[in-house]
Amino acid sequence: MFDISPTEWTAIQLSLRVATVATLVATPLGIAVAWLLARREFWGKSIADAVIHLPLVLPPVVTGYLLLLTFGRRGLVGAWLADHLGIVFAFRWTGAALACGIMSFPLLVRPIRLSIEAVDQRLEQAAGTLGATPWRVFLTVTLPLALPGVLGGMVLGFAKAIGEFGATITFVSNIPGETQTISSAIYSLIQTPDGDTAALRLVVVSILIAMAALIASEWFARRATQRLHGN
């Protein structure tokens, strides 16, 4: 029962790699977006907020198809990227990372935004009077105080990225070793006559990863409260 075959192992490794890259790339952008939403008012803010949360409510296959139209080798942006920069997303693990990053983005932004909002702006004012430019205020006061929320958001986004399926399989299909993540592997295995045992193994792995992520996210949330009380 616990013998993991090479195909399953490849799928697990690929999922971890895709989810890690997706999270690491999405995080700086997520922090910037969260800061804008938390600290700035601007025309079209509610529209921007809605667009960011679209991947949560759109059918994942729709998101995947839109990605194909935009970033596929013949897509609007994808063709240019491939010809001029040699960057290819479609049917490659980088495309899987892109799909996962977009799908998990709303889950990443939300906790970060909340934790930035919870940072007392009077502290940021005080930092300004001590000579800190807005950028240094962000790096030395806002971000450290919001860090537990950032980490919590990253973990949540990571868990979502590991489990992503609909957008991924639509955009980059199901190529073992390149785009076959845990979810796609399970999907293929349950259509194979003797694949149920292997599928179950991967299901257990998925559940373990997801649970670890949720527990870690919870731990970071608790750290956030401690930190703000200066303990």
Partner: protein
């Protein structure tokens, strides 16, 4: 030499204030809601006047006609807030050092020692703000503002939220500060007793307007409502 000539609309309330101060400690005196905090926030650069000019030692900090506004982080004006506002994620040592680092100043161990001794905070260095008493927090806030080497120090009711015992503990430090630190101060308070002890010049504010200007003789003998 601080020159202020500003007006600002804040909701239903408006401020129109004009004064020049040469003194070592300029007191902004008035009841709560008279506009004192808004006024020093404008001096600090945290609030922009609707109209007017603010200059310090000849340098223009705000000039609405010329669309000039020097950002708060470039003014080298220290600010001691009524609620201390120490950074909770840094210990006392790092809080004290914050202004020096942000202003990219060289380390000055002698100055540091002077301030730490002046305020008696040497034994608090490794503590986090959450573990300090109210009085200790105020002294550290004072030290933090001083160590950023400001050319003007603003103090917004630094004793306002403290009980009598605490006040009597801190007041001597402020007096020593005035006598030894040689940095001009603008001191906001509604307490005439404090003002009498500290200020050399008084600007009295009533409902957003300068009601009187002069030495300590303009202070009322009775305490104003808090």
């Amino acid at each position: 030499m601080l020159r202020v000539d500003v007006s600002k609309q804040l909701g239903a309330f408006s401020i129109e204030a004009s004064f020049a101060s040469e003194g070592r400690v300029t007191g902004l005196f008035g009841a709560s809601g008279a506009g004192k905090t808004s006024l020093i926030n404008m001096i600090a650069g945290l609030l922009r006047p609707d109209r007017g000019i603010i200059t310090l030692d000849g340098e223009t900090l705000d000039d609405t006609a010329a669309h000039t506004h020097v950002a708060v982080y470039r003014r080298r004006i220290g600010y001691v807030f009524q609620d201390a506002r120490l950074f909770p994620h840094l210990d006392v040592r790092q809080n004290l050092d914050y202004g020096r680092r942000m202003n990219r100043l060289a380390e000055d161990p002698a100055a540091r020692k002077r301030v730490i001794d002046l305020l008696d905070i040497g034994n608090l260095m490794d503590r986090r703000p959450g573990r300090l008493s109210g009085g200790e927090r105020h002294r550290v806030a004072l030290g933090r503002a001083l160590l950023s080497q400001p050319r003007l120090l603003l103090l917004d009711e630094p004793l306002g939220s403290l009980d009598e015992g605490r006040k009597e503990e801190i007041l001597p430090y402020l007096v020593r500060l005035r006598d030894e630190a040689r940095i001009p101060m603008v001191y906001v308070s509604h307490d005439a007793t404090e003002m009498r002890q500290l200020a050399t010049q008084i600007v009295m504010l009533r409902r957003g307007r300068v009601a009187a200007f002069g030495g300590t003789e303009v202070l009322p003998t009775a305490a104003l409502p808090a």
